[in-house]
């Protein structure tokens, strides 16, 4: 058959490569800023948009969606064209995908520091950006499927299956987790409340790890590792088993983020079982990747790209061993809310994602610019800086996690806590935070070497954008199965059917877990004393969300003796029915605040927000002086309450009509409380504190976890 000539689009790959490097530096730099905030909590004093609660989501989003996201697209656009022997379906769509994604990142980098956030982890962006993400994702999907349909290669290689699973699942997860009711251009409320919101969020959150940070990168592994080592994958059979079992199991594992919480027990157990099973496909994949290098280990010594791959795949093996282990309730009871989890995810991010990206970038740089890499020596230096960086990052945090968890749980013989003051458990691990920041610095230094190396390579290399290739077009054959064709071969060339089956596989898990929670209202026992927030508390809660308090403070007391002793009665599902979004948190850099209401007086909160070190010497919490000077914006209060009514919160019409009156009354009461302190009168006597944001926040904090106590009093 006559061969056709066509060009591979290398320009789009270059664009994504450059974006990967730029956002990689930015994301890691923000990470480093955040790490230093642990050690010097004051160094950004007074700058609201650089406070920890706002920068932390910026770091996670930048690294996940900007750095790893662009690196995935870079690898996908390179490998897909070659595996399918076709140029991407549409250059225009490729460009829209690229620039659209970069614009979304810029929008995130602006809105998150401004405090415009929905607070749900890794899904913090507000609704207009969520819609933009959906549109760009669809553009990418059309481009990918279009390329598959015009391919010159009958069979679809396993890497592309992973890309397709990513495309479908991320779309489903993103849409369902971001269903929210807009109140204004940059404020919305989740359509789910409390336990349901938590369940949907972690179904999303875990699968963001699974289907954004894992499956597409596994696809890249199945293409680039054989390519660089110049030998086929160890076992193609294993790769098929790996694919189907991984996508089928992963989608169930979300609830392991909610062990011992108010989530129903059966859902927790389901999460544990599937998480433990996940070790099999994950390790199958790891072994498949590593053994691809069988007989080529000598190349690992000479080729920096393979070095990066080996450490990346080893990191994948480590974090996928740790994941199932952490899903056992016994270990989860220790690890959850501690730095152990931060160490765990950074093994994934720094080793698996970061090193896969680095390896691919080095390899692509010489291919795309058609020249040797500028300096192999620099790449090797990067490799060692990066590897040491990972170790210096992770090991201290493992120690910190264990240390803090055991300090939280130690009792004196008389039944009191040995470390009753939470702060003692924080100051104990400060040296670990310093080592972590050192590790991060090493890692970033290595990555900057990569940027320099690629820049020099590009300067020396050719500027030819596209690559001429030739391949025969596909013979037309019947869409039905050929007489001697195997079922799976046939399935693989029926792209659409294959995609649908993949979708079904991932949907089953989500559906079985979530539908019972959503459809049966009676499954969350109603606690009659739990009432909706007052207008002032609602505004206070939105300030809590804006400042990202949930990044460091949980609102979920687990039913352990050590937690009940420290924080108070453990949290019940029925207490969160009006929480949109839920704010359970995932890390306790500071103590749990679910029962903070009534624990301290209003003045304590006032002083603590102004400067945490006034009330708690040695605290590493940022200070929030702007809350004392900014007026509370009440222009949306009624709209917010109306939105809540639409979502099912039982505010009466009277409450909505009188919202501002009720709000002012409660604010005035708090100001009167504050004025009982002569110090307050001396310093702020003239200022109208009742109009400031701090009053709303105090109202919310004083309400937290108190409804259930009222219930007890009533019963008694």
């Amino acid at each position: 058959m006559k061969k056709e000539q066509f060009y591979y689009d290398n320009k789009i790959v270059k664009m994504f490569l450059i974006a990967t490097i730029v956002w990689g530096v930015v994301g890691m730099l923000v990470g480093l800023l955040v790490a230093f905030l642990f050690i010097f909590p004051n160094y950004m004093e007074g700058i609201s948009w650089l406070s920890f609660g706002r920068l932390r989501p910026l770091h996670t989003n930048a690294v996940i969606f900007a750095f790893v996201g662009n690196s995935i697209f870079m690898g996908i656009y390179y490998s897909m064209q070659r595996l399918l022997k076709a140029r991407m379906f549409s250059d225009v769509l490729s460009k829209i995908h690229f620039w659209g994604w970069q614009l979304i990142i810029v929008a995130a980098a602006i809105t998150l520091p401004l405090g415009l956030t929905s607070s749900k982890e890794y899904a913090e962006l507000e609704w207009p950006i969520d819609i933009a993400i959906t549109l760009i994702w669809v553009v990418m999907g059309i481009n990918m499927i279009g390329t598959i349909l015009k391919r010159r290669q009958r069979h679809i290689y396993v890497a592309i299956w992973f890309y397709l699973a990513t495309l479908i699942t991320v779309a489903v997860l993103h849409i369902f987790n971001n269903l929210e009711l807009p109140v204004s251009a940059f404020k919305s409320y989740s359509i789910y409340a409390g336990v349901q919101d938590a369940m949907v969020q972690w179904w999303y959150g875990h699968n963001a790890v699974a289907f954004f940070l894992t499956t597409p990168v596994l696809g890249l592994m199945y293409y680039f590792v054989p390519k660089v080592a110049n030998r086929p994958v160890y076992s193609y059979r294993l790769s098929i088993v790996h694919f189907w079992s991984l996508i089928f199991l992963y989608i169930w594992a979300g609830p392991h983020h909610l062990l011992y919480t108010a989530l129903p027990e059966w859902a927790q157990n389901l999460g544990t079982v599937f998480s433990v099973m996940l070790i099999f496909p994950s390790w199958g994949g790891m072994i498949n990747g590593l053994l691809t290098l069988r007989g080529a280990w000598d190349k690992v010594r000479e080729n920096p790209v393979l070095k990066f791959f080996v450490v990346a795949i080893t990191g994948y093996g480590m974090s996928t061993f740790e994941g199932p282990m952490l899903s056992f309730k016994t270990l989860n009871a220790i690890g959850h809310y501690t730095d152990w989890i931060i160490a765990h995810v950074h093994i994934g991010a720094l080793a698996w994602n970061g090193f896969m990206a680095a390896g691919i970038i080095y390899w692509l740089a010489s291919k795309l610019w058609k020249t040797e890499l500028f300096s192999k020596k620099l790449a090797n230096t990067h490799f060692w800086l990066g590897t040491l960086g990972i170790l210096f990052y992770a090991i201290p945090l493992y120690v910190a996690g264990f240390t803090q968890a055991s300090m939280w749980k130690q009792f004196n013989p008389d039944g009191t806590l040995v470390y009753g003051n939470f702060l003692e458990t924080v100051t104990q691990i400060m040296p670990m935070y310093m080592m972590r920041a050192f590790g991060g610095t090493l890692y970033l230094a290595g990555f900057i070497l990569l940027a320099y190396n690629v820049y020099k390579t590009a300067k020396a290399g050719s500027t030819v954008q596209d690559e001429l290739v030739e391949a025969a077009p596909l013979k037309q054959i019947s869409p039905s199965r050929a007489p001697n064709e195997k079922w799976h071969s046939w399935l693989e060339r029926r792209t659409v059917l294959f995609t649908i089956l993949t979708t079904v596989a991932v949907l089953i898990g989500g559906a079985v877990e979530i539908i019972p929670l959503l459809t049966v209202p009676s499954n969350i026992p109603v606690i009659s004393s739990v009432k909706p927030y007052t207008p002032l508390e609602l505004e206070g809660r939105d300030i809590y969300i804006r400042e990202g308090c949930n990044n460091c403070h949980s609102q979920m007391i687990r039913p352990f003796r050590s937690e009940v002793e420290r924080y108070g009665e453990y949290s019940k599902a029925g207490e969160f029915v009006y929480d949109r979004p839920f704010l359970w948190g995932s890390r306790r850099t500071g103590p749990d605040v679910h029962r903070i209401g009534g624990k301290y007086n209003d003045n304590w909160h006032f002083n603590h927000m102004y400067d945490p070190r006034l009330t708690s010497p040695g605290s590493i919490m940022p200070s929030y002086p702007w809350l004392l000077t900014s007026d509370l914006d009440v222009s949306d209060t009624e709209a917010k309450m109306n939105a809540m009514v639409t979502l099912g919160v039982p505010y009466t019409q009277f409450e909505i009509d009188k919202a501002l009156f009720l709000l002012r009354n409660q604010a005035e009461e708090i100001e009167q409380n504050l004025r009982q302190d002569p110090e307050f009168v001396k310093n702020y006597g003239e200022s109208n504190m009742q109009n400031k944001e701090i009053v709303a926040l105090i109202a919310y904090l004083q309400r937290l976890g108190t409804d259930i106590k009222k219930g007890e009093t009533a019963q008694n």
Partner: protein, 63 residues
């Protein structure tokens, strides 16, 4: 106080059906897939796994 968490799903009829459905589904899919993979002819597998490598000219049929 345990009454608040102990009986979450008692109100749903036959709630145990959900984990059972999931178990059966998972194992059926897994076993079918495994059976299928083990039956794949070696020649096809070799051709497919050579796809990322250079000089792979045979794009039209392996079936």
């Amino acid at each position: 106080m345990l009454r608040f968490i102990k009986h979450h799903f008692d109100s749903i009829d036959d709630v145990e059906i959900y984990p059972i459905i999931s178990l059966i589904l998972f194992f059926t899919v897994f076993i079918t897939m495994l059976f299928y993979v083990l039956k794949m002819p070696k020649k096809n597998l070799e051709e497919i796994s050579n796809m990322p490598l250079e000089g792979n000219e045979n794009n039209n049929d392996y079936e």
